[in-house]
Amino acid sequence: MPAIGSPDDQRGRLVDNLILFARVLRAAGLPVGPGKVIDAAEAVRAVGVTSRDDFYWTLHAVFVNRRDQREVFDQAFHVFWRNPRLLERMMSIALPQTVVPPEEERRELSKRVADAFRSMNESEANRPQDKIETEFDAAMTWSEDEMLRHQDFEKMSTEELERAKRAIARLRLPVEERPIRRFQLHPSGNRFDLRATLRRSLRGGGQDLEILRKRQRTRRPPLVILCDISGSMARYARMMLHFLHAIANDRDRVYTFLFGTRLTNVTRHLRYKDPDVALAKVGEAAEDWSGGTRIGVSLHEFNRLWSRRVLAQGAVVLLISDGLDREGAKGLAREIERLHKSSRRLVWLNPLLRYEGFEPKSTGIRAMLPHVDEFRPVHNLESLEQLAAALSRPASPEEMRPWLKQLH
């Protein structure tokens, strides 16, 4: 407990200590603003500082906002309130220390920025050649773009990849909108808007009654993307990340997960506007790049921890994977079935479909195929464009039928 002097002094000291404590929490990453300190002072005054336990839970009620902040709060509390004197000293020592990590980060970041600049310079160096070509023959570039659209990501040169990335950055994914429970005035709506009707009528003194109509508004449903980053997907995963970044920055309610041997939520990392920064952050977050695949385990983890938090309100799920499971598809059928049942629409994007004579032979693919609404290729720009078109209309069971036939 903080030392207690005369009442006035005590209040002043307590508030000082609370401010210091708030600073510690802020440094530890909790969203604690000045308003919270005022709240805390008020709350402590209301409860009274009689027992350490009460004091703990009082501050807990004010400072903690989410379940995952409890640990941080707990540690900070116990270190801080054991001996504020000690802590003051610690703060004076700790403060310069807390400044150090961001600086390190900045240095790291600056390297990243430098990298980004270097690659930009390189593409600048390439660009004049492009320009010369366009000046030569516009039709030629068009056909080149056309070729690029059909070219497999895996077979692209570095320069072609750069151009493909730029094309992807412009790509939009107009997912079919769903009706929500709110209405808007519309001349050919299918319901009467009594409120608007009456108000309009009263404007004219209640003389005539012109029936106004309303219709349901629509909204794009949440989009959940599960992307395979295992060894067999390595080359595609890079391009997919650019694709995911473009989608995540285009609209709200996009949740992105990566999986190889385990599941990583990279939604927050992809929010960075700059694709290079975003992808670097993602690279740090996911630890299982180019390793094995455990689709069943990863989907199980998603179903258990995330499905109820992100699949509400008619979510559409994009599963990007080649379906080659290291563990012989153990438990995969059950997990994909659960995923299918808790999403409104499950679309499987498989780069293996680039092969003309692709047949669903591997156990993983055979386990997953019966439980998806759509099965689409994702190996070149054209297939991404087709995906955009497919998502803007309802799923068609007809397209799945030939695949299901092959299973038997």
């Binding site: 709240d39 709350a43 409860v47 004010v62 709110r182 409120r195 209640g206 509400a312 659960r338």
Partner: protein
């Protein structure tokens, strides 16, 4: 405030009194929850309760209303909840009749008619507008089910205790209500709303507290059986299940077993009544049979060990 009113129960004056108050309402709360509730009452802030389904979040609001002698107004949230069903709606049919009557009588001019028709008597009050009467307990249940725009609307209501109706103006609550907001975390609630509330994560209770809860909520269950039930449920919560059983399920199960005149748990009884505890077929299939047997054996050892210890 109810302090002036002699018939109404007083608001608690300390954390201890809050604990006693909740106990009177047959709610077994730990110190942490009592502190959060007391703060919410004392400082007139909403209480934001988050936790898994069936840990007693909604119950807190009900108990508060009952023990404080206040009206409970419940707003169950769902996808697409809008102002018309949460706050108010105009009674159009009555308005129309009023207009026709006025026309027939021919004694009213347009302006007064407009004023009359959009007055409070033509308003259908939905839960949030009912706040403006006395100070009730407002339960906003499962806020995570409503969509984000509604959450933003709540910001004004919860911080200023007032509702703006374009035709009438702002209606302000006479005394701020006690607000309890619950969420099952099917999505994250925005920080702006959380910031205005006192937050409490309602966890699964410890074995000791769960036993206390059973004593209060299912007094007809024999003590020995209660102990086994709690040990079994606590062991179940350590398993890798899709949906862990909450306190509500424990109480259900205890009552089901009491109805069946069970005095001690055995594998057959557990298998046939597992449906009261687990609500997903996958989970039941996983626990039924050998897994249940293993847990049973383990808890029998624990319970008998606890019995042998003095004071247990």
């Amino acid at each position: 405030m109810p302090e002036g009113d002699k018939t109404a129960p007083r608001d608690p004056k300390s954390v201890d009194e809050t604990e006693a108050l909740l106990a009177r309402g047959r709610y077994v709360a730990d110190r942490a929850l009592a502190t959060a509730v007391y703060l919410a009452l004392k400082l007139n802030r909403p209480l934001f309760l988050e936790g898994e389904a069936g840990v007693g979040k909604t119950e807190i609001a009900k108990v508060l209303a009952e023990t404080l002698g206040r009206r409970l107004i419940r707003l169950q949230c769902y996808e697409g909840l809008d102002v018309a069903s949460a706050v108010y709606e105009w009674n159009y049919a009555r308005q129309m009749i009023e207009i026709r009557l006025a026309e027939a009588a021919g004694d009213k001019d347009r302006e007064t008619l407009g004023k009359d028709v959009f007055s409070e008597q033509f308003l259908i009050k939905r839960p949030l507008l009912q706040l403006t009467g006395g100070p009730p307990v407002l339960l906003i249940d499962e806020l995570d089910r409503a969509d984000e725009p509604f959450e933003a609307y709540l910001l004004e209501v919860l911080s200023d205790w007032q509702i703006t109706i374009p035709e009438i103006g702002a209606i302000k609550a006479k005394a701020p209500p006690i607000v309890v907001v619950t969420s099952n975390r099917t999505r994250e609630i925005h920080d702006a709303l959380k910031r205005r509330c006192f937050y409490y994560w309602v966890d699964y209770p410890t074995a000791e507290r769960e036993l206390d809860i059973l004593k209060v909520k299912a007094p007809n269950v024999p003590a020995a059986l209660s102990r086994e039930i709690v040990a079994f449920v606590q062991a179940l919560r350590k398993q890798d299940l899709f949906k862990l059983p909450g306190v509500a399920e424990t109480i259900d199960w205890a009552q089901a077993l009491a109805q069946l005149d069970v005095v001690a748990l055995d594998p057959a009884v557990v298998s046939s009544t597992l449906g009261a505890l687990l609500k997903y077929q996958d989970d039941i299939a996983k626990i039924q049979g050998s897994e249940a047997m293993k847990i049973l054996e383990q808890i029998k050892v624990e319970v008998s060990a606890a019995k042998r210890r003095p004071g247990a």
